[in-house]
């Protein structure tokens, strides 16, 4: 069931999303949220997903500060008010 969630965007993506720092989309899972983002800003899918449709290893997605790799990956369900963050993996250390 689609629900309204907010996605925080990294600077790398903002210029492809009308310079928004965050956007609100309706989605039932993390995968749906990425598709909704792509529907609104064409070309986003290819940046975030590889050829097989999996989230790239170079992209981290968090739901309410939790890495979705510790949840159910792109099938992680979303509820109203959830906050997603998309962050480049290559940082830190």
């Amino acid at each position: 069931m689609p629900t309204s969630v907010r996605i925080s965007l990294p600077p790398t993506l903002r210029r492809f999303c009308d310079n928004h720092e965050s956007v609100e989309v309706a989605a039932g899972t993390v995968g749906d949220a990425i598709e909704a983002l792509h529907a609104r800003f064409n070309g986003i899918r290819e940046r975030l997903l590889d050829e097989a449709g999996n989230i790239r290893g170079s992209v981290l997605v968090f739901v309410n500060q939790e890495d979705i790799r510790f949840l159910d990956q792109s099938r992680t369900p979303l509820k109203p008010g959830d906050e997603l963050s998309i962050i480049p993996a290559f940082a830190g250390g």
Binding site: S8, F16, R56, D67, S85, F90, A91, G92
Partner: protein, 432 residues
Amino acid sequence: MSSQHSSSPSHGATSHTGFMKALKCRECGREYPLTATHVCEFDFGPLEVAYDYDRIKRTLSREVICQRPQNMWRYRELLPVAGEPTVGRQVGYTPLVKADRLARRLGIRELYVKNDAVNYPTLSFKDRVVSVALSRSVELGFKTVACASTGNLANSVAANAASAGLECFVFIPHDLEQGKVINSLVYGANVIGIKGHYDEVNRLCAEIAGKYGWAFVNVNMRPYYAEGSKSMGFEIQEQLGWTIPEHTVVCMASGSLLTKIHKSYQEFSKLGLVEPTKWKIHGAQATGCSPITTAQKAGLDFFKPVKPNTIAKSLAIGTPADGFYALKVMKETGGYGDDVTDDEIREGIQLLAECEGIFAETAGGVTVGVAKKLIASGKIPKDSSAVLCITGNGLKTIEAMAGHVGETHDIRPNLREFEALLNQDKTQLLQA
């Protein structure tokens, strides 16, 4: 604390770029200007500095290097600054110790310890990456620098920022060792303790970096920052008489240091500064945070993130940014990965201290412990030569050894009491 957006520079590349050509995506090869940015817009791949090696080859020789002061900047053509370095000019050229006593204990023909526990000014290899990152930050016009850190990096950013007159924010897990906390606070840095583990600190810093116009050394400045680690490998080769070691054992947090030591061997080979002999690079982690070595042992090209639980807090990164590339280097060079328990880490620290008089932090205990395992299993042959990279100083992590190294024998200032103590149990005293 200072104002939020006061230090945003132009973020533009300087017109003079030294020996750097561009930032280049490691995945798709797309090129970007030499600004403060760290990932490719098309696939989020990491950006790396591309150099003009033809021009470097015409400029850099063993003779030129040998005439320069003994610090990491003697290899400056291979480090990503446009002009003369302005921060951390005394960093590096730490001792390469021929560790004969430790070699005998571990059962290997020849062993060296690259001792960054005495690196200047903050006693860890992080001074290398920070001097590069801050020098480049100054070139790009930043006035405020920051980092996400497991401790050593925070110390180095705080100290080097202080000496350069830069505003500084360091973000650390709130439960770090006291030595590392005090070692950041003393320089006047804004130290932010995050109630979470390092990976959470890192995520927050990625968000802060996206909002504030600061030079985050290991976020938007990471392409420059990471290159500083190569200097450890350059020094090893020079100190070994311009040769590449057969085996190098490197501890891994993000895995970046391991990949950059490999790159340093490649670059010196490419430039003709050393004979391009074969080398193997082995990775070491703590069992309580071993995403990379677990993958290596399973023969995988990718790692599964973990929630860290180890006394080796400086290596406690459950989502290692360069894990994929570290695995690739181990595979390409024929190296191995292994990990050690907290008790084995303490044993490693003690072994290095007792044999060579070097007190390493917990990460050093990991390196020694894993080297011991790899030699015992024959993965590093007993009739070979190896270098162990020691990255930080034991005085910063004394909590890990407290209660594990014996106790003092307290007596009154009286000769009789001393002799009574000696006679009481000589064996016990000698063992203490």
